[in-house]
């Protein structure tokens, strides 16, 4: 059956609608849970729902979905209360508290489930569907209920967007502004719980957590704004729902829930690698670029310093080129990488093969290159001076992460620092002007100011 025919089938339409709704609502709420550091809360709530479902069945004796969901919601509330109590009143940390509540509630649920199965009261076959979910069994009534619930969820989230934003990023500040942060946190937990509960039917206890986490993490890779992140996350959730449903109808015996989760994971992996600002590929490329730039700078500096020292000794023999080997020795890099950097610099028009060189393989600056190298060396030496006398310049509030130092200084500070540089005899002495002139008049002011 091809996809188009499939979409005509009302049954598939219901399942598809259910999975999309699930994806949207859990994607949206997952963002807040993720940013609040509560990603695994969904997992715990889902597991804790099992005893609630079983108790609802024992009490009512019927298999009404509505009752199951209410039971699951109550059990989830108790579970989240237990987690909060354990972390608040004992020295057990939150992750252990989650694991304790998750496993004990689930274990208790299993006891109830087997008790029901063994006591053979009526038909209990629908109960274990909650463990792994059965999206294919979604029918019109379920989907209508899901529409109502997820519309309420989305509406509440939209209305309380600003408050939740405060809660997620700076709850202390929110409390200072007079917002009831505890209440909002509880409300967020409740909404999370509801979105978990409506997901149970489609993807099951174990995997419902994935629908909260994966779309949110994926969306985080593409934006820095919460509003956009929430929308993106909802879209990723919905897309995973669509893809999962369609794929699972294509093959025999392919469960929908896990396929939806795998679709969401694929989106995540794609973003992990290819996201334009935070992806692995992008960061690897910018790392390589940085490394190349540092190498080029080092080579420029090596060439400059070689020239500078020769110039100081024999001012009339300039324009002699320098071999790759001597630059490699000076900068401490491998000759091959120096060669590579030199050809890159040659393409940039900063260095050129020396005209009057004794060997073919020797290099010297172009005039633009000399200027660039002068700036570079000056900047680096100013940094050296700054770092050597950091306590002295503390009042300047320099940002150590920026590359250029001169732009961060006021003219008078720059003057002082240049003066300082001079006292170490570190002023770069080679500029275009004195290239062919006589030996530079080095000033003889010694001592450290």
């Amino acid at each position: 059956m091809n996809v188009w025919q499939l979409l005509q089938d009302p049954n598939t339409q219901w399942v598809l609608a259910g999975c999309i709704l699930l994806g949207v609502s859990s994607g949206v709420l997952g963002c807040f849970a993720f940013l609040r550091g509560r990603s695994l809360m969904g997992d715990a709530l889902a597991h804790a729902a099992l005893p609630g479902v079983c108790l609802a069945y024992i009490v009512s004796g019927s298999k009404s979905i509505g009752l199951f969901l209410i039971g699951a919601a109550i059990a989830g509330l108790i579970a989240s209360y237990c987690i909060a109590m354990i972390t608040k009143h004992s020295r057990i940390k939150e992750d252990s508290a989650l694991a304790i509540v998750l496993s004990v509630f689930f274990g208790f649920g299993i006891v109830l489930l087997t008790y029901i199965q063994h006591s053979n009261q009526g038909n209990q076959s629908g109960l274990d569907k909650f463990l792994f979910g059965q999206a294919a069994s979604l029918v019109g009534d379920d989907v209508v209920a899901m529409i109502v619930v997820s519309a309420t969820l989305l509406l509440l989230t939209t209305l309380l967007f600003k408050e939740f934003k405060l809660l997620v990023f700076d709850s202390g500040f929110g409390r200072g502004l007079g917002y009831p942060m505890e209440l909002l946190d509880g409300l967020l937990m409740l909404l999370l719980l509801v979105s978990v509960v409506i997901g149970l039917q489609a993807v099951g206890v174990v995997l419902v957590a994935a629908m909260l986490i994966a779309p949110a993490v994926t969306a985080r890779y593409w934006t820095e704004k919460l509003g956009i992140m929430v929308v993106l996350s909802g879209c990723f959730g919905a897309l995973s729902g669509v893809l999962g449903t369609l794929f699972s109808t294509q093959a025999e015996n392919l469960p929908t829930g896990p396929v939806i989760v795998l679709a969401a994971t694929c989106f995540f992996l794609f973003s992990l690698v290819f996201s334009p600002s935070r992806g692995i590929l992008f960061r690897f490329i910018s790392f390589l670029k940085l490394r190349q730039k540092v190498l080029q700078d080092d080579v420029l500096q090596a060439l400059y310093e070689r020239m500078e020292s020769d110039h100081a000794q024999m001012p009339y023999q300039l324009r002699r080129g320098y071999t790759v080997e001597s630059l490699a020795a000076k900068s401490g890099k491998r000759a091959a990488s120096v060669q590579q950097a030199l050809s890159a610099l040659h393409r940039l028009g900063l260095v050129e093969p020396a005209a009057s060189s004794p060997t073919a393989d020797s290099w010297t600056f172009t005039s633009a290159g000399l200027k660039a190298a002068y700036e570079l060396v000056l900047n680096r030496r100013l940094w050296d001076v700054y770092l050597m006398n950091e306590h002295h310049y503390q009042s300047l509030s320099i940002d150590l992460n920026q590359e250029a130092l001169t732009t961060q200084l006021s003219p008078s500070d720059l003057e002082e620092m240049l003066h300082h540089l001079e006292s170490y005899n570190l002023t770069p002495k080679l500029t275009e002007n004195n290239m062919y002139a006589g030996q530079l008049q080095t000033s003889k002011q010694g001592g450290i100011s």
């Binding site: 009143h89 004992s90 694991a99 463990l131 957590a209 392919l254 469960p255 795998l262």
Partner: protein, 296 residues
Amino acid sequence: MNSFWVILTGALVASSCGLLGCFLILRRMAMLGDAISHAVLPGIVIAFLWSGSRETLPMLLGAGALGLLTVFLVQLLHQNGVKSDAAIGVTFTALFSIGVILVSQYTQQVDLDLDCVLYGEIAYVPWDTWEWAGMDMGPRAVWGLGGVFLLSLLLISLFYKQFKVCAFDPAMAAAVGIPVVLFHYLLMGLVSLTTVASFESVGAILVVAMLVVPAATAYLLTDKLHVMLIYSVIIGIISSVLGYALATWLDSSIAGAITTVTGLLFLLAFLFSPRYGLVVRAWHRRTMRWDQQTNL
């Protein structure tokens, strides 16, 4: 005799999990244990399809490999800027999904029940016996679990000091030259092995319960690591005995009942632990206030 084997299996699960659980709790990696116990599913299925039988060794290898892979992936994602809880969540759900899909695709070849994967069936343990040289050597699960328990016990007692320093202060451990990463993976490898060995008898979720709950209970009762280890094992064994009794009384899942009992024991410790119990501390506060008032 069957009750004996079942209780012994439960006690072995509880002991090996209890030992490892203490370190998981101290290193704040309880949810990593949860993740591993889910993520070994594809490993088990692949080992099953590959070896074509329910032999213990390939299963242990397959699941052990998947357990380590989980830890590695979580670490990798974390290094690439994913929050660690989200990294755990994404990894284990993805691997578990793969496992479920494999089971449903090869459902004819794989004699694995998904329910059994989740909550196990310890009651069948006594019938799955191991025959060696024509002799009935007792249930296979007991041998597997016993082996894993002895291995954990041996490794932990050999490297007790290293594990201890790593658990409390990884930075210091690295500073004094302990290979922290190696011990991290060693611990996680043991957790994976224990998970798999316990898998058939107690299921994925209940392994988490045995890993975390007795150790957390012990953590509320003492401040010393070696005492905590011993308490944790004892609490695990008590819960397996009481849990078996509860299960026979209710005619329900044994593993579920064991978990419920550990939960109750934890609740008791949470309320009445001599030093950290909720009620005890409230009582202390009251007597202190009373003392102050009489002194004034």
